[in-house]
Amino acid sequence: MKALSLYQDRGTVVHRVDSRSKLLYILSAILIPAVLPGFMPGLAMLALSILILATGKVFGKVLPLVGFSLLILASIVLIQGLFYSGNKQLLFSLWRFGFYREGLLFSGGICLRVMNILCAVSILVLTTRPSDLIESLVRLGLSPHLGYVLSSVLQIIPQMTATMETITDAQRSRGMETEGTLLVRMKAFLPLIGPVVMNSLVSTRERSLALEVRAFSARSKKTFLNPPQGGTANTVIPLVLLLAMAAAIVWRVMQ
C-alpha cells in the first residue's frame, strides 16, 4: 500500500547513514549559521546540504519543495526590501517603489536560513524510511506508544483515502449523486463519512486487541526488530557534527 511519505528508495550511501546522524545534521545546519556571523557559513552549509542531496540522488525531489517556498520567500524579499524599518541606503527603484540595501540583506538572510532548514530536513525525509526514523527515535528514548502513534498516522491516512473511495463507489452505486451543487455535496456528506467513522472505530478496537495479544504494553525490556546501524561512519558523523557545533559556539563566545 502507498504510505504517506516522501521517502525515495535509492539505496545510496546517504540512505545507509542512520537517522540519528541526520537529525544531528539538521540541528547543525540550523545552529552553526545562526551562531556565526555573515552569509558565508550559511552558504557553505547550504552547499554541503545540496552536495549530500545530490549524492543521495534525491536533489530533483527537493526542487518542488524549494519552488513552493520560493513563493513565500519572494513576498518576504518584496516587503522587507520596501518597508524594512532600518532601510537607509536606496539600492534601486522600480517605477515608484524604492528597494533598500538593508531590507534586502535582511530578507536575504531569512531566505538563506529557510533554504538551509529545508534542505537539511529534506535529507532526513527523502532518504530515511519513516519506520526506521521512528525506530531510532524509540531507541533514543521516545516512548514506544508515541512511536506507534506516529507510524500509524503515516499508514492510516492513505488507508482512509482508499476506504473513502470504496465508500463513495458504494453509495454512488445506490443512486446517490456526489457531484454537483453545494446542496448535493452536503447531502452526500453523511452517507460518506458515516461508514468511514464506524470503520475506523471498529478497526481501532481490533488493532488494539491485536497489539495487546502480542504483548505491546508488556513492562519488560524490549528488543528491536532491526539491529542498530553500526559502522564507523555512524560514530564519526555525529562526533564531527557535535564538535563543529561546539567549536562554533566557543568561537562566538570568545569573540
Partner: protein, 274 residues
C-alpha cells in the same frame, strides 16, 4: 434482448499494464458466475459494468445505454451492485432506513421505498430486525442487509461481489434462494465468487477470467467438465465433481443429488439436464 452487451472492451489503470484486454460478451437473463484467480480482473470488470470505471476503449451497453453517456447514480436504476464489504455502505442507525436509502435515491416515493425495503428484508429473512441498529448485528447479517438494500431498488441487473463471505451454511442457502428468486423474476444476476460448490449449485452460466481475458464461457456444467483448462487458471471443479471423477466416472455432476442419481443409475455419464 441482451441485458448487457460488451464490445471490444479494454481497460488499464496505467498504460502498458493491461487489466482487461479485448473482451466482447453478451449477457442475457441467465444467472452467471464470474470465477478466476485473485487479480484476474473480475472486480475491475464489474466496476466497468456499473460505470464506476470507464473503458479505455470499447463500449459497455446496459439495457442499450452506453455507460459513457450516464452517471453512476443514473445507472443505479438499471444495475445494482452489492459490494464485498457491507461496512463500506451502512451508515443509517436503523436497518429499515438503510435499506430504504437506495430506493429513495432513484425516485421511489417514501411509501414505495418502505414497501420495497420491507419486501427485500422479508426476502433476506431479516424482517424482524428492521428497527435494529445495523452495527448491533453480526457481519453475516450486515451482508444480508447490504443485499436487501440493493434488491429493494428493483434493478433489472444485480451484481454480487463475493456474496457468501462470512456466511454459514444457512446463510449460503438463503443467498442461493435469493439468487434463484431474482433469476425467476427475469433479472440478470451476475456474481463474482470463489466458492465453486456454490457456483455449481446456483448458476446456469459460468465465465472464467484469467489475466484479463475470458478463458471459458459456457453453461456451468460444460465449464466444470474441462478440468484441464480450469487448472490452467488455478481453479478446481466443485468437490462433488472431483469426487465423481476420482472414483472413475466420466463427466461433470454438479450437485450431491446428481451424484446420487448417477450412482444409483449405475451410469458413468452425467444426467442430461440439471
Amino acid at each position: 434482448m441482451n441485458k448487457i452487451e460488451i464490445r471490444k472492451l479494454r481497460f488499464h489503470y496505467s498504460a502498458g499494464e493491461e487489466i482487461l484486454s479485448d473482451i466482447s460478451l453478451d449477457f442475457d437473463a441467465r444467472s452467471t458466475a464470474i470465477i478466476g484467480q485473485n487479480g484476474a480482473g473480475k472486480t475491475t470488470f464489474v466496476k466497468l459494468l456499473k460505470g464506476l470505471l470507464q473503458p479505455v476503449s470499447g463500449d459497455v451497453l446496459i439495457d442499450g445505454i452506453n455507460t459513457r453517456d450516464m452517471t453512476v447514480a443514473g445507472l443505479a436504476r438499471h444495475v445494482g451492485l452489492v459490494f464485498q464489504n457491507p461496512n463500506d455502505q451502512i451508515f443509517k442507525n436503523k436497518v429499515l432506513d438503510e435499506v430504504m436509502f437506495g430506493p429513495s435515491n432513484i425516485g421511489q416515493s417514501p411509501d414505495e421505498a418502505r414497501a420495497s425495503a420491507l419486501a427485500a428484508l422479508q426476502m433476506v429473512g431479516l424482517a424482524d430486525k428492521q428497527a435494529e441498529n445495523p452495527y448491533d448485528l453480526s457481519l453475516s447479517e450486515r451482508k444480508l442487509i447490504s443485499i436487501a438494500s440493493i434488491v429493494a431498488m428493483h434493478t433489472d441487473i444485480i451484481i454480487f461481489d463475493e456474496p457468501t463471505i462470512a456466511q454459514d451454511h444457512a446463510g449460503k442457502e438463503r443467498i442461493k434462494a435469493i439468487i434463484r428468486e431474482l433469476a425467476k423474476q427475469g433479472k440478470l444476476v451476475l456474481t463474482i465468487i470463489h466458492d465453486m460448490d456454490f457456483v455449481a449449485e446456483t448458476f446456469e452460466r459460468t465465465l472464467v477470467f484469467a489475466e484479463g481475458k475470458v478463458l471459458l464461457d459456457g453453461p456451468t456444467r460444460e465449464v466444470y467438465g474441462l478440468p484441464g483448462i480450469l487448472k490452467q487458471s488455478h481453479l478446481e471443479p466443485p468437490h462433488i465433481t472431483q469426487l465423481y471423477n476420482r472414483i472413475g466416472c466420466q463427466g461433470a455432476v454438479l450437485t450431491v443429488e446428481e451424484f446420487i442419481a448417477a450412482r444409483r443409475a449405475g451410469t458413468g455419464r452425467p444426467p442430461v439436464s440439471a
